[in-house]
């Protein structure tokens, strides 16, 4: 078994009086693709936001390489190599594609290294190179998702957390994005993938967790989960 690099222990998050997470435990090991499944409002996005400190955890801990990062500032979590690609892609629509990528490497001080990374991301997503002078808002949905992932890769993350990368995209584009995620993973980046599209996610992932109203109701290897009757019924629509 390889080393656990991200560990959530009894993590609890509240919005006012409302519990979004009710003490969840998740482990991500080096090199894995782990997926978080669940319906709208199950707490998937909140989990990622809590890890990246956009929302504060009310109880429990987030450990990254054994270090407690539960209450670290969001920017310092990025500096450690944990990147969160938010739901809805959230690219900067009124900045150019190139500026979006540059901002991805904000923590980097070295401009030559920045250029190198931009070239690497452009190799992965040739369409971004073609459109680098255009405003982010002019890209199609799929291209915006590529830009969001490319921007996150600019930090050369150790863990890439993706929140619903398939949302609102045509099936063929979804497949394209999933292939790229697979490729990023095979180059050594650990992936934590939040998805509503369980079918696509389980095909890609090594392991999965199923969230329901802030609690983990099931976990296991992806191949086991994808044959589990209740999951098939609830999320795979068969």
């Amino acid at each position: 078994m390889s080393e656990t690099i991200l560990e959530l222990k009894n993590l609890e998050t509240r919005y006012g009086q409302i519990y979004a997470l009710r003490g969840i435990n998740i482990e991500v090991k080096k090199g894995e693709i782990v997926t978080l499944l669940g319906a709208n409002g199950a707490g998937k996005s909140t989990t990622l936001k809590t890890i990246s400190s956009l929302v504060p955890a009310s109880e429990g801990t987030v450990k990254y390489f054994g270090e407690d990062i539960t209450h670290s500032a969001p920017y310092s979590i990025v500096e450690k190599g944990l990147i969160h690609v938010p739901e809805g892609r959230m690219i900067f629509k009124e900045l150019t594609v190139l500026e979006n990528l540059e901002l991805g490497s904000f923590t980097l001080k070295d401009n030559i290294e920045r250029k190198k990374r931009i070239n690497r991301v452009c190799e992965l997503f040739p369409v971004l190179k073609e459109r680098q002078k255009q405003m982010g808002g002019f890209l199609s949905g799929g291209e915006q998702q590529m830009l969001a992932i490319g921007r996150a890769l600019m930090t050369e993350p150790k863990i890439l957390m993706l929140d619903e990368p398939s949302m609102g995209l045509a099936p063929i584009i979804v497949q394209n994005i999933m292939d790229i995620i697979k490729q990023i993973n095979s180059e050594g980046t650990t992936i934590l993938l939040v998805e509503q599209n369980a079918k696509v996610a389980l095909k890609l992932a090594d392991r999965g967790y199923v969230l329901e109203t802030g609690e983990i109701v099931m976990e296991g290897n992806a191949d086991v989960l994808s044959t589990d009757e209740s999951i098939v019924k609830a999320y795979l629509g068969e």
């Binding site: 900067f92 629509k93 900045l95 901002l103």
Partner: protein
């Protein structure tokens, strides 16, 4: 004077006064863009800039032989000092209010404004202070345009500052982060941007530019007093709205445009210069009614 000479003269006056408005408007616009605050204290920062310039100049004058050298040193020093004042105000007064409702921080800004101008009021007993520079105001002609060395340098300095700011926000990572935070603060945090640091830098730059404008106004008008920020504050705000508040090139454009409008407005028969301010605020009202997003502002559209 022929009408051509009047035109040239007013064009120059308009650009010069407009560049003061622009420099102050930039601070309003940057701060509004990044934390959605109409920083009422900004006009008082401008006034503090003028006074700090005057004080520093007073210290320097016996030692520095050349008048321009003295002013340049005083300008740069004041920009740094007042820039830091802006950062301190931001840290002490605004940062604790960032998560509070918008109205609370607005009221805080009013309070900061009162503290600043009352402090200067106490220190100066409300008197007009001569801004003595030792510069000669000899005029000469460029073609039909009557000109003094001082006014030429002032316009040039203002344009240089605007150009430097433009380079800062388009070419440096900090400038890019500043624009990105204006668009989406949360996502910036996910990029590893230390949002509080960028907000502090924004206040530094905005306050430094206002200080520069304050000193330039001191040199131009020859006197300073504790309430000098009030009117120019309103006008710079107007300029920011005309250009599209939150948009930095818009603030520069709005400032220059407003300066020109005023300069030429006073030339309209029966409307003398005493109506100049009325002119400005009529424009503000017209813009707020017909083009509230300003000249460079876009109507915000959401796309999933």
């Amino acid at each position: 004077m022929t009408s051509w000479e009047i035109f040239l003269q007013q064009l120059f006056n308009g650009l010069l006064v407009g560049s003061f408005y622009g420099l102050v408007a930039i601070g309003y616009s940057m701060v509004y863009g990044i934390i959605k605050l109409l920083n009422f204290a900004h006009a008082d920062i401008y006034m503090c800039g003028a006074f700090s310039g005057l004080i520093i100049l007073g210290f320097l004058n016996p030692y520095v032989g050349n008048e321009w050298l003295g002013i340049i040193i005083a300008l740069l020093l004041s920009m740094v000092l007042v820039g830091l004042l802006g950062v301190v105000i931001q840290r002490v007064a605004y940062r604790p209010m960032l998560k509070a409702p918008r109205l609370s921080i607005l009221i805080t800004a009013l309070a900061v404004s009162m503290i600043l101008y009352n402090t200067v009021l106490l220190m100066t007993q409300g008197q007009y202070k001569p801004f003595t520079t030792g510069l000669t105001h000899e005029s000469f002609y460029i073609g039909a345009l009557r000109m003094t060395e001082t006014r030429m340098v002032l316009l040039l300095a203002a344009l240089v500052l605007m150009f430097l700011l433009h380079m800062f926000i388009t070419r440096t990572m900090y400038g890019k982060a500043m624009r990105a935070i204006a668009l989406d603060r949360d996502t910036c945090q996910l990029m590893g941007v230390n949002v509080y640091m960028i907000i502090a830098i924004t206040f530094f730059v905005g306050s430094a530019l206002a200080a520069a404008a304050g000193i330039m106004a001191g040199v131009y008008y020859g006197t300073v007093h504790f309430f000098m920020g009030f009117l120019i504050g309103l006008k710079a705000f107007t300029a920011a709205v005309i250009g599209g508040i939150g948009i930095i090139p818009g603030a520069m454009l709005g400032g220059l445009l407003l300066g020109l409008l005023e300069a030429f407005g006073t030339q309209i028969p029966f409307i003398g210069s005493s109506w100049r301010d009325v002119f400005t605020f009529v424009f503000l009202i017209l813009f707020l009614i017909f083009k509230p997003n300003g000249l460079l502002g876009r109507i915000e559209s959401e796309r999933m």
